[in-house]
Symmetry: C2
Subunit: 335 residues, 2 copies
């Protein structure tokens, strides 16, 4: 059986089974979360330590026709910072393994690192190491290390959603996927709209500060929206062994997407992915506290329900479940 047939989640389960066969090792005893959440977590001396790795690969995650080197540097760090945000952590250090064709202009590499450090500085992240290789295709593999404020601080995890929790999301959805459509389908839009959508796709802004606010106000369950709202909510459902019910009328579709994409705007928001917003669940009073404490919009889009199949039910305007939505992006599987 090949990896396309098994799919990304099947592959990850199999990998986790192999690497977790040695539960008695001394280093393992410090581990809080290994494979399976947004980032790995383990006990440091005075704080919980976090680490995550994610690669942007030419031909898979990006093409040079639709990205600049500076944006690539920014985004390859941003997607990892977002994983630290989704744990409620503070990012500190980044390491980059960058593979480049031999013909790559040195100024392009400079632009890559300048884009990356522009974002790094916003969150006081230091690039401390890396590795460069030649390769026929560009490959930016970034590791980010982070930590919590204290050793006792809870984390935002995928597995703690409870039946009755409300489901909420920061910011708005669909803009990054719309930006991608503009680039790949060469759509024309009014300047400000195009700029906002392109920026959402090219320079996503990780919700680091918001992740900390969620933790401080009692939220314990979160994931970042990278592969699509439905796909990522399903991950919370599977990890927490619950179901979810969301209403299409409540989805905070980005205003530019709603204006520019009309009939497909809901689909972009539900399944487009790459929004890097935080999707979280908590009781109603916790969500109210978060709304008061946070500077970005927070929208309740549904609730956690009992479901032995851990499904996400999407309820349409007519109150009936819609089953025609793509879930989002999963590597190795056609969607």
């Amino acid at each position: 059986m090949n990896v396309a047939e098994v799919g990304e989640s099947g592959l990850i389960s199999r990998i986790a089974e192999i690497v977790n066969r040695n539960p008695d090792s001394a280093s393992r005893k410090d581990v809080i979360f290994g494979i399976g959440d947004d980032a790995a977590a383990w006990y440091g001396d005075n704080s919980i330590q976090l680490a995550t790795v994610d690669a942007l690969r030419q031909g898979v995650h990006f093409e040079l026709e639709t990205t600049t080197w500076a944006d690539l540097g920014w985004k390859s760090l941003a997607v990892n910072l977002s994983d630290i945000a989704a744990m409620g952590g503070i990012p500190r250090f980044a390491l980059i393994s960058l593979a480049l064709p031999e013909s790559t202009d040195i100024e392009d590499v400079v632009a890559f690192y300048e884009g990356m450090t522009e974002l790094a500085r916003k969150f006081d992240v230091t690039v401390i190491g890396g590795d460069t290789d030649r390769s026929p295709l560009i490959d930016a593999c970034v590791t980010v290390l982070g930590r919590t404020k204290t050793r006792e601080q809870p984390l935002l995890v995928r597995s703690s959603a409870r039946v009755g929790d409300l489901i909420a999301v920061t910011g708005s959805l669909g803009a990054a996927a719309a930006g991608y459509k503009i680039l790949t389908e060469r759509l024309t839009f009014e300047n400000n709209t195009a700029a906002a959508l392109l920026s959402a796709f090219q320079r996503p802004f990780p919700r680091i500060i918001e992740g900390s606010i969620l933790i401080e106000n009692g939220v314990r369950t979160a994931i970042d929206v990278s592969d699509g709202l439905i796909a990522d909510l399903e991950r919370i459902c599977r990890a927490s062994r619950v179901g979810a019910r969301i209403e299409t009328s409540k989805i905070p579709i980005s205003p530019e997407v709603r204006a520019g994409f009309n009939s497909s705007s809901l689909e972009l928001a539900l399944s487009g992915g790459e929004d890097y917003e935080l999707l979280f669940t908590a009781g109603g009073s916790v969500i109210e506290r978060v709304k008061n404490a946070i500077s970005c919009p927070v929208t309740v889009i549904g609730e956690i329900i009992t479901d032995a199949n851990y499904n996400v039910a999407v309820i349409g305007q007519d109150g009936k479940p819609e089953t025609n939505h793509r879930k989002g992006w999963e590597h190795f599987k056609s969607n």
Copy 2:
């Protein structure tokens, strides 16, 4: 100018210049070594923390015709453990970003992780995270996190060689490069010889324990031999602003290489690379202490001298400098 013209070391200098532009950040103040040594190092609460990243890329570092998936898993971890060894640290955690063609058999992925965890268990390293992607070519990007025993412990660095230091190396050299030659040139050897050379290439054994012994006995300068003895010694020279003089008659050429490769055995030992032995410098009395404390061979091959050009002089049997040796492997530059 493209990266092939600048070369790997030129590229790394340029990258270091960009990422170090922000020396006042809070996270940076904890950094002991960023880009430029075998691993990054920073102050944790009770120990020094270490991190390193290195990728094995299909078509650049390996071909499926000459490696098994299990060996690839082992080696992609081993090269990173070796970087932690070369700092005198203890490895703890690994994260893997693995890119795979969609047609990859799931059992091959299982073999990869089994090879990796086989080595991980030997050093009590836990695989805590990762990421899988599809990609036309296999790419295993591994990050290893480690630490020192105490916060006060010195590190093995490249920049502390002093004129008058002896230059020494653990184990023997050339076997990995000879193993690679056997595979790529389909050479035939007596079984035991072939097995030893292939194993050196396919399953290098990182000198973690030896790195700790070096530190405990007063060594402060080391690098692991990954790109070739001359190339890696030059890195110590550049970082320490000294020169080196080594004698070909003293090089500990692997006995199997000496027996099987005769005229090219010295070249394999000097420039072949991938030995993952520790190359270090220290005063004579420190080296004597190391020899008594360590279970592997330690051979003095030369000494650190004054040289404004930071060159490595290779002295032949006749006492004269030889200038015909390849230096070793540098990405982006033809050697």
